[in-house]
Point group: C2
DNA sequence: CATACTTAATAAAGACAGTGGAAAAACTAA
DNA sequence: TTAGTTTTTCCACTGTCTTTATTAAGTATG
C-alpha cells in the first residue's frame, strides 16, 4: 500500500539522501552537504551524528580552509557491514563475503557436481552454511544476495524457471531466510549485472541501460529510469529469445529464429570448425589450431581477428549482422542511453565493437544516430559477485516510497 | 535535483494521496479515507478542508449509518478546472476543452491545410488563440496538452522530429507557454494513448502496458511501472521501426524489414487490390467492391473477415504472422502485463484478435504462455483527446519525488 | 601579534504537520 | 429518553526541519 507522509518518512528520506551524498561525493564536509542538497546545516549535523553512531560514516581529517574554520571531512565506511554474494551458474556456485563497496574479503568456488533440482538447493544451503558458520559477526551481515540465470520473481523471492539446473518455482528467498535468519535477495544474473554496471561500473551517470552478454547463450538486462526492468513475472530481458530471422532456426524456447541461435559461442565455434574443414588453409586460425579443435577458444577467435584472419573476420561479420539487428530493434523500442556488451568474444575486441557500432549506425533512425552509445563492460573478472552486491546495495541505499 | 524531506513535502504527499483516494474511491467519507490509507482522521479533515477550499472536492450528501453518525460523503469535482487538449495529426488539428475526467465540453476540428513547418506552428497558435479568447475563466485552465506523432522530448518540451509535417526541433512548450501564459505539456501521441488506456480506460489495474496502433503506420507506446517510457531523447516506443524481416523491404527510416512496412493499412489495401486483380472472383470482397477500389476500407476488410472471405482471411494471416513476431519479441524483452491493440482494422474484429492471441501463444516462451494478455483498446472515438488529457492529469495527480 | 573577517559546526528557539485522546455532533436501538 | 456507536473536529503533544544565534576554528592584514 502507498506510504503516507509522516515525520519518520521525512527523516528516513533525508538520512538516505545525506548518506548517499557522503557515499558518492565523499570525503565531504557537513557544510558542503547542506549546500549541495539544499538542506539546513543543522539537519545535516544531526543526521551525520546518527550515521556515525551506526558506524556507516566516519570523520576523516579536515579539508583546507577557504578563509575560515577548516571543514571536517566525512567518509562512507564500506567496511562497517558486509554482504554475502552467491552466484549460481551451470557449473559453479561462487560465494563470497564483500564489503559495502563490493570489495571481496573472502571467496570460495564450488562445483555444482552436475546436481539438479533439490540437490542443487541443498548444495547451495550447505555451501552458505559452511561459509557463515565460522563468522562471529553475523549481525553485521547486510544480507545474502543470490543470482542465477533463468526467470526469477525477485519481489516474491521465487526462482521460477532454470531449465539447466531443473529448478522450477523454488521459494529460495524464504528457504534461505528461514534457515539462516538473514535478509536474502534473489535475482536474475543479467539483471544483477546491469545493476552492477550502473552501481559499480563506469555507467553510473546513465539511467537507461541495455546490457548484453554473449556466452553459451545471449543474456540481457534492461535498466530503465535507474530501475532494473523485471517485467510482469520477472521474465523481462530475454533479448536472446527475440526473433531476428523469420522462419529461422527452431529454438528450444518454442520460438523461431531467436538471436541466441545465431549469436553465441557454440554457434561461432561450429562455424569456425566447418570453415576449417572446407577451406581456410593458410589462414592464421588454421595454423594455430593444427587440427586440434580444442584449441578453438574465444580468446583465439579474438586474436585471429586482430591478425586479420579472413575466415574469422567473415564469421564476425555474420555475428555482427545478426546482433546489430537486435540492438537496432531495442534502440527503436527502448532508446537506452548506453548499450553495454560483455562476454569473452567482446573482451579486448575493439574490432568487434567497431563493427557493431558502424552496423548499428547504418540501420538506426537517422535522428538517433548521434546518440547511439555502445560500450564494452566496465566490470572486471568479479562481475558475478559485483552483480550480487549491486542488487542488495541498490535496495539498501535507494530510498523508495512505494 | 533530489528533493529533500520537509513538512511541505509531507503535506503535499498526503494531500495528493487523499485527493487520489477521493478521485478513485469516491464518494467516500473522511473516516473511510483515514482507515483506507492508514492515516489519522485529523489529517484527513484538514487536508479535505483545503481541497474543498480549492473546489476540487465537494461534500455530496451523507451515507448510510452503521450504527452511529452518518458519514459525510466526499466527491472529486471533475468540473472544478479544465484542460485544453490539442491533437496534431497529418490532416487534422483537433482542439477541445475537457474537464478533469476527460469529458469533452467543447471541441473543434481544423484541417492542417497541408501546411508544413512554421506554417503549422502558426496555425496551431492561431487555433489555440481563437479557442481560448472567448473564455473568461482562463485561470481555471489546468494546462494545455499537445500531442503529435513523431519524436518528442516531453521533459524539455521539444518536438524533435515529425517528418510528415516537416517539424524539427521546435520548442513548442516554450512557444505556447510564452504566448498564452498557460502551463503546457507536449508529448508523443502513442505515449499519450497508453497513458489514457491506463488512466481512463479499463487497464488501470496494470502498471506495465504495451500499446500498439495500426493505421497508416504502426505506432506504439510503452508504460513501465506506471510511467510512460520515453527513452533517452524521447524516442522510445518506435515498435513500427523494429526489423522483423532481415534483408526485407527498405524502410524510409533507414532500417530494413521494419514492421510498419508489413503491417499497416496501405500495405493491406494494396494486397487486397492485387489479389482482386489476379483472382478473387466470387469472393465477398470482390462482389462488394465491384471494381470501385475506393470502396476498400478498413471497415469493409473487417466485414469481409466476418463473412469468411478467403482472400481477406489469407491477407489477415500474413498480417497476424508479422505482427505476432513483433509482439513475441516485445514480450520476451519487456514482458508487459497487457498488450493493447488499436486501429480501424482491429476495431470490432474478434477474429483478428483471436488469431493474434493464438499465434503469439505458439511462439512465446512456454512459461509465459498463460500470462499473455492481448486486448483491444478500451478508449472510444475520442481517444486522441483522452490521450492529451491523460498526460496532463497524470502529471497533476501523481505525486513525484524526483 | 592583535584585530577583523570567514567559514564550519552546533545550540536554542520557533514553525508546522501529523498523532492521539477527548469532545462534540449526529445517529441507532431499545 | 437513554445508552451506545460512529463520524468529525478540537486541542495538546510530539518530533523534525528551519531560522537565528552562538561557538569554534581558521585566514588576512596592518
Amino acid at each position: 500500500m502507498l506510504r503516507t507522509g509522516d515525520l519518520k518518512l521525512m527523516q528516513e528520506l533525508n538520512r538516505s539522501i545525506i548518506l548517499n551524498t557522503i557515499r558518492k561525493k565523499g570525503p565531504i564536509s557537513r557544510s558542503d552537504i547542506a549546500k549541495l542538497i539544499n538542506i539546513s546545516p543543522t539537519t545535516v549535523t544531526s543526521a551525520v551524528n546518527e550515521l556515525i553512531n551506526q558506524r556507516v560514516v566516519y570523520e576523516d581529517g579536515v579539508g583546507s580552509s577557504s578563509g575560515g574554520r577548516k571543514p571536517v571531512l566525512l567518509r562512507f565506511d564500506p567496511n562497517s557491514r558486509y554482504i554475502i554474494g552467491v552466484s549460481i551458474s551451470n557449473s559453479f556456485i561462487k560465494i563470497s563475503e564483500m564489503n559495502l563497496e563490493g570489495a571481496i574479503i573472502k571467496r570460495e568456488v564450488h562445483s555444482t557436481h552436475q546436481y539438479q533440482g533439490n540437490e542443487i538447493i541443498n548444495l547451495i544451503l550447505t555451501i552458505i552454511e559452511q561459509f557463515i558458520t565460522s563468522k562471529d559477526n553475523i549481525d553485521l551481515c547486510e544480507g545474502i544476495s543470490i543470482i542465477t540465470p533463468g526467470i526469477v520473481d525477485s519481489s516474491k523471492g521465487i526462482l521460477s524457471y532454470n531449465s539447466k539446473l531443473k529448478l522450477y518455482n523454488i521459494a529460495l528467498k524464504q528457504i534461505v531466510e528461514e534457515k539462516f535468519n538473514i535478509q536474502t535477495h534473489i535475482d536474475n544474473d543479467t539483471n544483477a549485472f546491469v545493476q552492477a554496471e550502473n552501481y559499480f561500473g563506469s555507467f553510473s551517470q546513465y539511467k537507461d541501460l541495455l546490457y548484453i552478454t554473449i556466452g553459451d547463450g545471449v543474456g540481457s538486462g534492461v535498466m530503465i529510469n535507474g530501475k532494473t526492468l523485471r517485467g510482469y513475472k520477472g521474465s523481462a530481458g530475454e533479448l536472446g529469445h527475440t526473433t531476428i530471422v523469420r522462419g529461422g532456426l527452431k529454438c528450444e524456447c518454442g520460438n523461431e529464429g531467436c538471436l541466441e541461435n545465431y549469436v553465441n559461442w557454440p554457434a561461432i565455434y561450429s562455424k569456425i570448425v566447418s570453415s576449417l574443414l572446407t577451406r581456410g588453409k593458410g589462414t592464421f586460425i588454421h595454423d594455430q589450431v593444427k587440427g586440434d579443435l580444442s584449441k578453438i577458444t574465444p580468446a583465439l577467435f579474438v586474436q585471429a581477428l586482430k591478425e586479420g584472419d579472413v575466415l574469422c573476420l567473415r564469421i564476425m561479420d555474420e555475428v555482427v549482422s545478426h546482433l546489430s539487428t537486435s540492438i537496432i530493434n531495442t534502440i527503436h523500442l527502448l532508446n537506452p542511453e548506453v548499450i553495454i556488451l560483455s562476454g569473452e568474444i567482446i573482451q579486448d575486441n575493439e574490432l568487434f565493437l567497431g563493427a557493431i557500432r558502424s552496423k548499428v549506425a547504418q540501420g538506426v533512425i537517422p535522428i538517433l544516430k548521434e546518440e547511439v552509445n555502445i560500450q564494452p563492460t566496465s566490470l572486471g573478472a568479479d562481475f558475478e559477485m559485483l552483480g550480487a552486491a549491486a542488487v542488495i546495495l541498490q535496495e539498501k541505499f535507494q530510498f523508495v516510497f512505494q
